[in-house]
Symmetry: D2
Subunit: 335 residues, 4 copies
């Protein structure tokens, strides 16, 4: 068993990490920390009663290093990079669920804040296994993708070679409210979400540059990405609708099947996808249809799993040389 740590256990992604790791055949969850410490796992998450009751520590890098070989960071951005650099210095491998190592320094600093770990940033690998698997294998610092970029990129990347030159991409994304975290705010108040839907941060959300940068990184193409997220009245799940123009009259299902034929966690559907079939799993379900020169792609993931915690464990599996499907949730919360 490989000893691992979860740093940032109080939020939803921390809870999901714990749930997956407790059922994982090769990872042994030996250390759990949160920003405050002084509590226990089942006090933080009452659903863990009778299942997992251990102290939640105030995170300390030396202590992590003394116990664990790999740490999952489910911390807010900015906090994460400070802690990651310490862990790396102590020889602990890191899978970071924050935004801190996902972007080039200049992009990061434009959209977030000054970067405090420029030293390690260049060696971070973007943890989208379908496109960065070989690099992840050799990495000790994985930047786990954002939920919106995961669903968007898995849907649209196969079609970048077919995009009409100079044409924009439009991504209309819909996310369950758990993506907004546990924090209290008007936009997570039940009354404001229930029986409602609305866009937020249209064309200015920070996941747009993440998507654009990865397209550029993989295909050396600069595409105009227009990204509009919406909150929908569901707790978990994310659906991304992508609209783009094509150069040729390709068969989109054939393109998808070709690229993803050996991928264990992508399912190509011949009917529009839904979020219930992926909620609770690491799957990304994808459907696409062409209308003349236009393409519509619909991709669905569980925002907390494929969009965060289960993808993080897949990355950890790869980093540690394990089968990447070990301990990864597959069975959807259906019905």
């Amino acid at each position: 068993m490989i000893p691992v740590a979860v740093i940032g256990a109080s939020g939803y992604t921390g809870l999901e990490l714990i749930k997956i790791l407790l059922q994982h055949p090769e990872f042994d969850l030996v250390y759990v920390a949160a920003s405050e410490g002084g509590t226990s796992t089942d006090a933080l998450h009452p659903a863990l009663a009778k299942l997992f009751s251990v102290p939640v520590e105030k995170a300390d890098a030396a202590e992590v290093a003394s116990k664990a070989q790999l740490a999952f960071l489910a911390l807010p951005h900015k906090t994460a990079m400070g802690f990651a650099s310490e862990l790396l210095a102590h020889g602990v491998k890191v899978v970071d669920l924050s935004a801190d190592y996902r972007l080039k320094q200049e992009t990061y600093e434009e959209y977030y804040c000054p970067h405090v770990d420029a030293k390690n940033l260049p060696e971070a690998v973007y943890g989208l296994p379908e496109f960065y698997r070989e690099k992840i294998k050799k990495s000790r610092l994985v930047a786990n993708p954002g939920c919106y970029p995961t669903a968007s990129l898995l849907g649209l990347l196969p079609f970048i070679p077919h995009i009409k030159e100079g044409s924009p991409i439009y991504i209309d994304a819909k996310s369950g409210v758990s993506g907004a975290g546990k924090k209290l705010s008007a936009s997570t108040h039940y009354v404001n979400i229930n029986e409602n839907i609305f866009a937020y941060n249209p064309v200015t959300h920070r996941h747009a540059p993440e998507i654009a940068e990865k397209i550029d990184d993989l295909f050396v193409t600069q595409v105009d990405v227009n990204f509009v997220p919406h909150l929908i009245p569901v707790t978990r799940g994310m659906l991304c609708s992508v609209y783009m123009q094509l150069e040729n009259k390709i068969d989109p299902i054939a393109v998808l099947n070709d690229i993803y034929k050996d991928e264990p966690f992508v399912r190509i559907r011949t009917e529009p996808v839904d979020i219930k079939s992926v909620a609770g799993t690491n799957f990304c379900d994808i459907y696409a249809v062409r209308n003349g020169d236009s393409l519509f792609i619909s991709s669905a993931i569980d925002n907390l799993l494929r969009g965060a915690s289960s993808q993080a464990v897949v990355n950890a599996n790869i980093v540690c040389g394990l089968d990447e499907g070990l301990g990864i949730p597959l069975f959807a919360y259906v019905p």
Copy 2:
């Protein structure tokens, strides 16, 4: 008081018509019919108990004509046109909520079925008051727009003069489940909708040609309309996200304010719109923002009111020479 009839009282739009007409200061609801007859209004709709209990007849055109000057048809398409032609022959004005008179004959027959009232079709006026008000005034046959076209067209029409030539329009629409009607089906089963979202009939929904045809009718421009509707887990309300490319760097809010400045039922918002603020009303709330050459428009309506019944009563007000706001619901179901 002007005597009016509701034909097709058993569905949701029939119920909404009844609720509006019972509170209307100038219309007197004197005749209520449904395909079957043999029941009463409060048996069909228990929420009407103690409020409106009259017999629901099996619809008969001669009887309608003997009692009412205007009839609202909330019937399925195909049934509507058969009945409308009889009513018109009897001198009854018609506001038809079905699709039967919304399209040119060739378009209709391509997407629906053979048209059985080609005689009256040419004189039907499309009941989107903001763009067809003068024609509605002189009409005796109003084709009430579909819910998706209402929300989409009100959002995008102001920008058609600014569209980049040859570029497509993408409409990502989200509808509450009441739009699917009372009929039992797998896609209205609670378990399939709750905690879920999915597209249906992507790029093939019959409201796409309705949108394209009205753009052409008003601006003599053929635009490639790509329309993808989704079902969301709410009962009522509809949000349409429109994506398009612009010729010039216009200020979209200024464009909207300019066109709709005198319109009583359109509200231009400077923040993304939501459906709760319009549910229960005839308002269409619109927001738009530009990102370089790309435009994102977000419009929200109540699918059963502005998308059907309250817009129908506005049209009836106009047809009858009344103030178009008479008896029209304005106060949203908030919270």
Copy 3:
């Protein structure tokens, strides 16, 4: 027109009061205040855009008195009684939606806090029109009932004469989340409510003594009231299930019909009631069935309307000598 004021406009009940009063044929809403002031009605409630945009003042009793004859107080308890006593001293009639005048002083002080307006408390009338109508007519200070007591009392009071002596009453109540107000808290966070249900404050909620005291006041009987409220994943509506033991084998529907036969806002149902049929209205729908010596009563109201704002306007109608149904919402948010 009778000039009236709303004090406490920022919450949900304040909004509902405004919506009703704007459509009321005899009340003229001339003054709107909130604890802070310095804003406007449509800034507080964006759904009021284009409908009602007036300044929201910091409440001042003298100014209210100079403009209005009657004030609705939608303030937190404790704040309400301080302001009410000032208004009464200025000759303004008061309908208070808080708990401050609902209970006898000793009961109030046991469950809330010291009472600061003992002078006016004895003349306050409990605003449940079906049982206190004659007293309300002569009152200048109405204590509008709580939402739970309204639904519970309307259901159970008709059966108090038939209760088995010494037997307890059990009330299992289910409330929509709007009852918890706009305030942010873990128990109004979307994720904690959605796909969930739970009891809160079981057998210790402050509405239990309100129910018990009114039973005693009306029937001179002390009944052991066990009250357990639950939050359910809906925004508005409340269902109260009452269980009790009977002395005799009465026909419960006949008992209800007999007592409520002339009441405009109570509907006796012969099938179990639901909240959708009353949401958006002032109706209380009631059903009851006997099982041997046991009785099950199910009553449904809109918690913000019959449980607060529309009942308050009914009380104001009565206080002002108007028809009590004037301007009261009747048509449910169905579908």
Copy 4:
């Protein structure tokens, strides 16, 4: 590995059985049947794509017997008993999820229909492990309890020794809609459930005699059970509120802790329970509080798991001499 069969794979409980059995370390799911046959598991349940694609047969007892040692029957009542008797004759052990073997013959025939397997009925054991574990061990025919009786009995049985003689029990139960199954009906239509709550079959539901009979069976006491189920707008989960009168001033939490201290699937809570903490698991969470002589008990389960499929697998584990927790889901669908 022990070969097992699922008969009745098309419904929700069939799907849950499949999901559990595919992850079970000792059971090998070798045969899947449904009433119609001629399909495959992933055609019936698209969420099983890439996970489990085998033919779904038309059920045949001889074929089951040739392949499996134990069969789970997720069939409608009446169909189940016909098939169970055949399986038993072929030497196959049966865990029956229907009502067919839960009741004494006379009770069954009063509430359901004539019993066609009176021969095997007497040897059926009621599959509530906490109270029938020893009998289940020796059984070859387990009658899996209904969801409502499971939650109700686990909550109230510990208090039967303390009930005030002759006093009734009131059970106010709230169930997610998945309990009503996949069948289309007005009461599973999204629009009728969303933003709604209502009782159904009050005091006449067939689960009341199941509860009463088991109380009598275990404590030789006839208690007047008044059972009122409600549908709530959630997909899965069930909360049962029980109200009863006590003989003595017991400490209810102490009573519960005492009885369930060694039970792996019951958690005693010191705060009111919620359904999110048990959804997705086999846990029953229980809370209770006393108010004078009255007791309020609140118990929560996942209606499809502890109320059906996971409890069935626990029973199969016991019947087969395995650890009863093998392969049983423990981690809740939280958030």
